[in-house]
């Protein structure tokens, strides 16, 4: 207990650490902005990161906040509270990505199926119009047109 006695009471941050934390948080949010600006990140996936950035900023500006949260959680050690919160947030994010990934996998599969069916039907039509040989030729020319 003793080594933590000082920490359990209240959060002590020197103004230097607070400035570093605030600068890091701002830098983080600027990075998100830049990623959106360059179309590397879509807006709808960026909201959660901005919230994270704001959280970091709030923590740096008002160290007392963490203490309040720790008390609400019934945790005496603010470090434990901080790490628990971050861990839970990351878990939530990872799950969120799995959900997004699953949805996109389903979309890709359906896209592949639609394309396969469309191509098969086109092939069938090409075979049905006139005799098989000209159908083949038409398909070839269509292929060239699409690729060329």
């Amino acid at each position: 207990m003793l080594p933590f006695a000082a920490e359990t009471g209240q959060v002590h941050l020197t103004s230097q650490t607070r400035i570093v934390a605030a600068v890091l948080a701002l830098f983080f949010m600027l990075m998100i902005l830049e990623l959106i600006r360059r179309d590397r990140l879509q807006e709808r996936y960026s909201v959660i990161w901005f919230v994270a950035g704001l959280g970091m900023l709030a923590g740096a500006a008002f160290p007392g906040l963490l203490e309040v949260v720790a008390n609400l959680m019934g945790v005496r050690n603010t470090n434990v509270a901080l790490f628990s919160i971050v861990l839970l947030l990351l878990l939530g994010l990872a799950l969120n990505f799995s959900v997004i990934m699953s949805r996109q996998a389903a979309q890709i599969t359906r896209l592949a199926q639609e394309r396969a069916i469309e191509k098969a039907l086109a092939e069938k039509r090409a075979g049905a119009n006139g005799n098989g040989a000209s159908g083949e030729k038409r398909l070839e020319s269509e292929k060239e047109r699409l690729e060329g």
Binding site: T109, Q113, A116, I117, A120, L121
Partner: protein
């Protein structure tokens, strides 16, 4: 009655030609579609040479996605019945014809060809499953029967016939990972009439099964998770 027979095929250039010829002979009235699941060999060419229409998925998507492509094609193009069989030559086409007869006679919505059904085992000694396959089979048999309260003997059979109600359901919901078992559970839960028919199956023409003991264990575990989750899926009343 317009009928489609489709064959999911992934790198099956060796056996596919024979399977198509077999289907053409046994079920001459049906249209034939080969769903080429991103094969890297000459599967699609062999299928065209044998006179089948080919739907090629641009990349390998797994058996479930390939089967769903077939159901989707059948639904979109107004077929009243469809059937599918494996591309490796294990499924004799005349047995598929028997499954289709059940569907066209409207005795069931979905008919599964079972190699373990008492009738099938007694009739022929052709098919001898490996040890790990036997374990997997009995585990799935037990749990699927428990989940659906309907007796199933061959849960992983890839020889099936179906009507439009099933096409409609499977073209919307078909697990890409664990197609065979989950689809049975889903169909029963949706109130469809699912029936097993004893069929004769052959030893695979070429290649070996992908199941090693470790893979089998993982396969079984995954299957049980899928079945458990499936029990909590919502039921929908099918309208078509």
């Amino acid at each position: 009655m317009r009928t489609l027979v489709f064959i999911p095929a992934w790198n099956e250039e060796a056996a596919l030609g024979g399977v198509i010829a077999d289907v053409r002979k046994a079920i001459p009235e049906a249209d034939l579609l080969v769903v080429d699941d991103g094969s890297t060999d000459a599967t699609a060419e062999r299928a065209r040479e044998a006179g089948a229409l080919v739907a090629s998925l641009p990349f390998n998507q797994g058996l479930g996605a390939a089967l769903q492509t077939g159901y989707l094609y059948a639904l979109r193009n107004g077929y009243e019945a469809c059937a599918h069989l494996d591309a490796d030559g294990q499924h004799p086409a005349e047995e598929v014809a028997r499954l289709l007869a059940e569907v066209t006679a409207d005795r069931a919505d979905l008919v599964i060809g079972s190699r373990y059904h008492a009738g099938a085992v007694a009739a022929t000694g052709d098919y001898r499953p490996t040890f790990s396959r036997r374990i997997g089979t009995s585990v799935f048999r037990f749990f699927l029967t428990l989940a659906t309260r309907q007796r199933f003997t061959d849960t992983t059979s890839g020889m099936r016939a179906a009507n439009r109600r099933v096409m409609s359901l499977f073209s919307r919901h078909y697990s890409p990972d664990f197609a065979e078992i989950e689809s049975l559970q889903l169909a029963v839960r949706q109130g469809l009439r699912v029936e097993e028919l004893p069929v004769r199956m052959l030893e695979r023409a070429g290649g070996s099964s992908f199941l090693t003991p470790l893979r089998s264990a993982f396969f079984i575990f995954k299957g049980l998770v899928v079945l458990l989750v499936g029990q909590f899926r919502p039921r929908h009343v099918e309208t078509e």
